[in-house]
Every structure is written in C-alpha cells, then in structure tokens.
C-alpha cells in the first residue's frame, strides 16, 4: 500500500519533470532581452553565476570530501590544527580580487543604464492605485491603462477559463516606436509604485511628489509585459504593464488615432445620450474601475468599501455623487476619478450605478453636467 503510494507520487513527479522539460521555453532564467541594457544585465548575471558555480564547486567539494573521508565511522582520527595564517590570508585576498573583477563590468553597466541623455521622445507615467497613466505630453494625449482580464477569471470562486495572458493584459497598452530612445518620467498619484518591464531591463520606483527618469530603447517590435513591483495596496497584483513596440509608420498611425480619439472625446461632451446607452457604457467603466472594491453586484466589502446597491448616496441627489466620484473622499480609499476618466465615462458610470441592481432612479446624467463640474 505504502509502496504503491510512493510509486504513484514518484510517477507523478517524473511526469511533472518531463512536462517541464517538454516546455522548451520554460523560464528558469531572465526573459530574452530586447534592449541593450537588458542584454548587459543578462550577461552580468551569467558571469556572476559562473563565478559562483566555480566557487561553489571548490567550497562544496572540500566540504563533502571532508564529510565523506573525515568521519569517525571510517576511523578517521581528528587532527589538532586550529589556524594557519598563510591560508587565511589567501582565502581573504582571492575573494577580494574576484569581487574587484566583478565590479568592473557592473560599474560599466550602471553608467550605461543611468544615461538618460539624448532621448528621442518622453512619456510621463503616473502610478495610481491600481492602474497606470501614460501621458504623451509632446503629442498632447494621455490615457489610463487598466487590467483587462475579465473579473470572473480571477475573482474569489471565479470559474471562467483563464486567458493566455492572464493578469498581464491591459485595455490600453503603452505604444512606442522601435529603435527609439524613450525617456520615461515616473511619478505616482498616491503611494509608491514601481514600473517594471523585465525584457527591457528597467525597473524604477514611482514616488508621489517626485519625478524619476529612466529610459529604454527596444530593438525589436513586439508586445512586452511587466508588472508593478512595489507593494501598493490591495490590488498591487493587478496593475500590469503592457508595452507595444511598433515600427515607426505603425506608431505614427497609432499617434494619429489617439489624437483624433481625444479630440472626439472633447466633442462628445456636448452629445445628449439615452439612458440605456449611458448604462451600457457605464457597465463597462464600472467593471474596470469600480468593481474591484464595490464588487460586481454593488454589494461592497464591509467595512472598508461601502455597498452601492441601495446606498443612500447613490439614490440621493446626483450632485453629491458627482462630487464624490470626481474628487474622491478624503480619508478613504475612494480616489478622485475626475482626473482618470473622461466626462462621458464619469457620466455613464454614475448613471449606471443609479440604475443598476436595486437602484432605479431612472435618471440619466449627461457628460455636459460633468464638464460643468470641472470649471
């Protein structure tokens, strides 16, 4: 019975090992670099690892030789030496020399990676709890980038099958041209975040009130993914980074699209929507921005995140709700969505909450009302 169990477990382990080997791209090292800096980091790590392997062979070799040969059970008699100045000097000096040897290439890489001069373009990136904002200041548009994995894939007791890029996909990726030095300016709106894309070899903390600059130059078009790397609260694990590196022509096309989109959004403010239309836009905005705390069915998570279903605030006068959505609520986790969402999105999401679940105010909030509140 016992041996049967062992066989089963052994078989399972062997199978697991085999499936690991079978997955050719199974990651046990840094991902394949796409920038010069990431390449230098990859090489530095390999050099360091080989030096370590060399030292390990000597250290563990001596240790296990001693364990095998110098044991009482094989009749080895203990010697009585307890110091040897010569050897002590040797094993202090040699590591020192090895370290100096390692420091040289490391220093060169540090100098290279910190050199943010002569950029081709600048993008300001702001960390929010829990999303990223990309501001293409020179081009005159900015957008929020939020996790796009559907909630039923990751929620507690969620049963939906997971996407290929589960938790590493966003609605609006950052887009940059290939082969251009992109300087990024990082800051944060609330707490410290860190912007990290492993394939670029870049990780920089985003600190509220301060800007920190860093840069990357991607040599190959493609889609690259990363995550926030500094604990930033509840949904720290749910604010991925996606960067699409495009050929210059495709990038220019994308910029043009973004510009017309942001122009359209401004005009849109004057449009008058039907209730149903607002509700359907609002439902999507709610899922992306609100459901994390107030939950998909508006039931909230007591005591920190209040329920919206049946809430006095939501069923009461609209101006109060507009104010809280636009400016947040001091001393709570409710952020100021006025600077994160467009007028239409804010109007739609408020309309949705006032007409979803058990709330039936029948009111439609128009984007123009939101625009007016920004004056």
């Amino acid at each position: 019975m016992m041996s049967n169990l062992i066989k089963k477990i052994g078989g399972g382990l062997a199978l697991a090992m085999y499936s690991m080997l079978a997955q050719a791209e199974y990651a046990i090292n840094f991902p394949k670099p796409v920038t010069v800096i990431a390449g230098q980091i990859y090489d530095l790590h390999m050099i360091t690892m080989w030096i370590i392997v060399g030292i390990a062979v000597v250290v563990y070799g001596a240790m296990f030789y001693s364990i095998l040969k110098h044991r009482k059970s094989v009749g080895h008699k203990a010697a009585n030496f307890h110091h040897n100045t010569m050897i002590e000097i040797v094993w202090t000096t040699i590591p020192l020399l090895i370290l100096i040897g390692m420091a040289y290439p490391a220093t060169k890489s540090v100098l290279a990676m910190r050199d943010s001069s002569n950029p081709d373009m600048t993008v300001k990136i702001t960390g929010y709890q829990w999303k990223w904002e990309y501001d293409y200041q020179q081009e005159g548009f900015k957008f929020m980038s939020v996790l796009s994995t559907p909630r039923d894939q990751f929620e507690l007791k969620g049963t939906a099958a997971k996407n290929e890029n589960y938790l590493l996909e966003v609605d609006n990726p950052m887009v940059v041209p290939v082969g251009k030095k992109v300087r990024i300016l990082l800051t944060a709106n609330d707490v410290i975040h860190a912007w990290w894309v492993p394939t670029f070899g870049i990780k920089q903390d985003a600190i509220p009130g301060f800007i920190k600059d860093s840069w990357f130059k991607a040599d190959k078009a493609g889609t690259y993914r990363g995550q926030c790397a500094e604990l930033c609260g509840k949904d720290h694990g749910y604010m991925p980074i996606v960067v699409e590196v495009k050929e210059q022509a495709d990038y220019d096309k994308w910029v043009a699209e973004q510009k017309s989109k942001s122009a359209a959004a401004t005009q849109d403010t004057n449009k008058v929507y039907e209730l149903a239309e607002l509700k359907s836009i609002g439902e999507k905005v709610y899922a992306t921005n609100c459901a994390g705390c107030h939950q998909a069915k508006g039931e909230g998570m007591a005591p920190v995140f209040p329920a919206l279903d049946g809430s006095k605030m939501v069923k009461g006068p609209k101006q109060a709700q507009i104010d809280i959505v636009m400016n947040g609520k001091a001393g709570t986790a409710m952020s100021a969505f006025g600077k994160q969402l467009s007028d239409t999105d804010v109007a739609a999401v408020i309309t949705y909450t006032r007409n979803a679940w058990g709330n039936h105010t029948g009111e439609a909030i128009q984007p123009s009302e939101i625009k007016a509140s920004r004056k």
């Binding site: 110091h83 070899g201 790397a229």
Partner: protein, 522 residues
C-alpha cells in the same frame, strides 16, 4: 555587584507565579524559547495560508487584502516574535553558563524584558480582529501606503515600540553580563564564539533598535499629529523613511544571523572533535560584518533612483561583505577538515546551515550587483534569497542549538531518530519550497502578489508542496521537545564527546543555580 546577588535564592514561588516573577536566567531563557516557538507556529501558519493561496493561479481562499495582511504579519512576527526572541532565549541560557557566571547581571530587568514580549504579541495578533484587519503594508511599513492603513497600523507601531524596548533592555543586560561577570581567567579572547557573536549582536541591537523606534514614531506622528516627515507636501520625502528603515534594517539582518554563526561555531568543533579553525579571525570577521552592516543599507533600495555615484558606492560596500562572510564559511570547513566527525542531529543542522547559508550568500552577491538587482528587486528571487539566509540560516541554527543543548537543559537525551527525521524532512521540504522561487524571480514574478500569470504556475505549485511539507515537519520538533522534557535516556554532564565549553562541566540538567563560586579557567 549587588545586582548579581539580589535575586531571591532561597524560595521561589511555584506554579504560574514562578514564571511570572522569575529572575533566574534559565527560567527566563526557557520562557523566551517557548514564546518564540509559539510565535513561530503562528507566523508559520500565516505562511501556510500564503502558500495555499499561491498553490494555483486565481484566488482560492482569500481576498487580496487578506493576503497582504498575511505577508505583512508573517514577516513582522517571524522577525520580531520568533527568530529574535529565540536567540535571546539562547543567550539567557548559555551566556552565563559559558562564561561561568551565576546569572545575568540584571536579573529583574531580565524578567521585564521578557514580559514585554507577550504584550507586543497580543497587539500584533489582536490586530487581525480590529475593523479593517491587520496591517497590510508590508513588514517594511513603507509610507505613504502604511499611513493609509487603519487602527491596526497604530497597534503594529506600538508593538514595534514594545519589542524594541524589550530588545534594548535585553541587550544592555547581555553586554553588562559579558563585561562584568566572566569567571576569573575568562579573557575576551577565550570566550566561546557564541558569547562573542552575542556580544557584538547586543551592541548592534542597542544601536539600531532606537532608530527603528524613531522611524515608526515619525510614521505615527505623520498619521495622527500632522507632522510631515514622509509627506512631500510638507517638505518631507517618503524615500527618507526607506533610508532610516534600512539603516536599522540591514544591521537587523545581521542581528538575526550573527548568533546563528555563534551556535554553529560551537557545534561544528564538538562533532568534528577538533578545535574551531581560526578563532581570532572568526571574531574579527564577525566584528567587520557588524561594522560593514551600517554602511550598506541603501542596497535594499537600488530602484528608488539614487544618483549613480551612490548606487556604485553601495554596490562596492555590499560586495565587500562577501569577504568576511566567506572567511567564516572557509573556517567552518577547515574545522571539519581532518576531523573525526559524527552526524548527530545538531551537526546535521549545522552542516545544512553552512551549505544552505552559503547559497543565500551567493545570491546575495548576485543581488549586490546593481544592474542585476534592478531586475530582481522585489521579485521572488529576493524572497528566496532572504529565506535561504533566515530559514536555512537563522532557523536551522536555532534547531541545531536546541538539539545541542536540550540534553543540558532537560537532563534527557532527545529522540535521535525523530530528530533525524525532523532534519531530513526539513532539509528536503525547505529546498523544494524555496529553490524554485529563484526561478520564479528570474522569470519575473513580483513578490507580495496574491495571484500570478500562468507561466509561474508550475513552480508555485512545487513551492507550495514543499511549503506544506516543511510546515508539517515542524510539528515533529514539538514532539521531540515534549518527549525530551518529559523523559528519555539520562544525559551525562559531558553529553557530547567533543564538547569543551564550561556548560558541559556542570551536571545535566543544569541545576537551578550554577557557578555560585566561579570556575577556574585553564
């Protein structure tokens, strides 16, 4: 001098009051050790919760915020409630015995410093039950995130204050004992290495615990009294907290490893039946590590964007620590070399310590290199690194020391078979648990996340299996300890053939009062 003699010799209360009022270093050592064992299981069960949640992608058992509470409290309680008090327990038992002193220099202070701990523990454990739950901003308590937390944040800060006071009082006591109470002939350079490492550790504690206390007090006043130490609007800087915290935090790392060095340096010579190789260089290496620990703190924060020159400086200084640490490892191996070794449980844990702590040291060198660290900062690679140092380092040394001295403390031999099972299952479970986390970090999995992308699934599952195995194995240790306290083969005074420090000259179990007349040191 009065301090030495003024504890009540003649009659001590029995039952619970014996433990509440005791000023006996052996009683207090026992209290510390049991306290840390309880905290070890509490914080360990939090870790089991973490590994259960990470067993598969997707949320299985808890909301993200609960997960953050578990990681935060696991870290805080393991560091301040389990590892540190365990070492203080060893110091209480062993320092007087090893230097031939009748007790600690300040017995009543000793009692207070212990009884502060349960209060801090109540605050920490109790914070799980206040509205909003326990602190969830990480054990490092970085603002502004930590300032966002609720009542539990204040409870955590007070607990840290109390723990800090306890550690400082304990350390003052240890320093005073070592400087004043050594038996005639016990010169500094004749002290056993365990005493030396604790001597240096105690100075580190007195130097840095007040710094932590200052840092968390600033957090507290920022939260409630409108100061702006870490708030940019009032001219503060959140990064300054990280500098102050790690100025404490890096010496703290050595506070948790130097006594481990001392325990291992006592055990290896005993079971190799050969004197410790390079005693003097061990002392100097320990002192250099302690001094270097004050000038490397910012290597915990390479990614905040320091000026290039600062990054380079902290990289060089950090790499330098590898030299004295290497000397220690070489010395232990040279002690084993040409010895006549036997492999009882303490020796097995000590050898595992040397082997696995060295892996933690190697990954430490990898992490010292700024560009590589930029990739690895805040990933599972770092998690693996510091668990190799603190679990297979500090914790394994604690186990080694416990098995080594249990016969002296209880008068009975522990069950060697169970001890060996405990060792081998811990050793295997530990490596299954933490070795794959290196790969997870390299592949890009951030730490402190409750859920992860699909490419990290296999290694997380393996790691969790190792975690459950390691966790369950620790129950064996409790069984061994209980069995050993209750009975077993009678231990001799000498216990171990190769042991030669003073504690082995007194009977087993060690009498309630020892060395009333100082022993003579050859």
């Amino acid at each position: 001098m009065e301090a030495v003699h003024d504890h009540g010799h003649e009659h001590h209360p029995s039952g619970i009051m014996r433990w509440v009022t005791t000023t006996n270093h052996k009683d207090i050592g026992t209290l510390y050790l049991f306290f840390s064992l309880i905290m070890f299981f509490f914080a360990g069960s939090l870790a089991m919760g973490i590994r259960a949640e990470l067993f598969q992608p997707g949320l299985q058992f808890m909301q993200p915020n609960t997960f953050n509470q578990l990681t935060t409290m696991h870290g805080l309680i393991m560091v301040f409630g389990a590892i540190m008090p365990a070492f203080v327990g060893f110091a209480n038992w062993q320092v007087p015995l090893m230097i031939g002193a009748p007790d600690m220099a300040l017995p009543r202070l000793n009692n207070w410093s212990f009884w502060l701990l349960p209060m801090a523990a109540i605050l920490l454990v109790g914070s799980f039950f206040v509205p909003g739950g326990a602190a969830a901003g990480g054990w490092t308590m970085y603002p502004p995130l930590f300032i966002q937390g609720g009542l539990s944040g204040d409870m955590t800060i007070f607990a840290v204050h109390i723990l800090g006071i306890s550690s400082i009082l304990g350390s003052i006591n240890i320093i005073t004992t070592i400087m004043n109470m050594r038996a005639p002939g016990m010169t500094y350079m004749k002290m056993p290495l365990f005493v030396w490492t604790w001597f240096i550790t105690a100075f580190l504690l007195v130097a840095v615990m007040p710094v932590l206390a200052g840092a968390v007090t600033m957090l507290l006043t920022d939260r409630h009294f409108d100061t702006h130490f870490f708030n940019a609007a009032g001219g503060g800087d959140p990064v300054m907290f990280q500098h102050i915290f790690w100025f404490f935090g890096h010496p703290e790392v050595y506070i948790m490893i130097l006594p481990a060095f001392g325990i291992v340096s006592s055990i290896i010579p005993t079971f190799a039946r050969k004197p410790l190789f390079g005693y003097a260089s061990m002392v100097y290496a320990t002192a250099s590590i302690a001094i270097l620990s004050f000038i490397v703190w910012a290597h915990h924060m390479y990614s905040v964007g320091m000026p290039t020159a600062a990054q380079l400086y902290f990289m060089y200084a950090t790499m330098l620590i590898a030299v004295p640490t290497g000397v220690k490892v070489f010395n232990w191996i040279a002690t084993m070399w040409e010895g006549s070794m036997t492999f009882e449980t303490p020796m097995l844990f000590a050898i595992a310590f040397v082997a696995l702590f060295t892996i933690g040291g190697f990954t430490g060198i990898v992490l010292a290199v700024v560009p590589v660290d930029i990739q690895l900062q805040d990933t599972y690679y770092v998690v693996a690194h510091f668990h190799y140092v603190l679990v297979s380092g500090s914790l394994f040394a604690i186990f080694a020391g416990a098995y080594y001295w249990l016969p002296k403390w209880t008068g009975h031999m522990y069950n060697e078979t169970l001890g060996k099972w405990h060792f081998w299952l811990s050793m295997i479970g530990f490596n299954i648990l933490f070795f794959p986390q290196h790969f997870l970090g390299l592949a890009g999995m951030p730490r402190r996340i409750p859920d992860y992308a699909l490419q990290f699934a296999d290694f997380n599952m393996i790691s969790s299996i190792g975690g459950f195995m390691f966790g369950a194995t620790q129950l064996l240790f409790v069984i061994v300890v209980i069995k050993c306290v209750r009975g077993g083969t009678k231990a001799t005074a000498q216990v171990w053939e190769g042991a030669d420090t003073l504690e082995w000259t007194i009977p087993s179990p060690a009498p309630y009062h020892t060395f009333a007349t100082p022993p003579v040191i050859k």
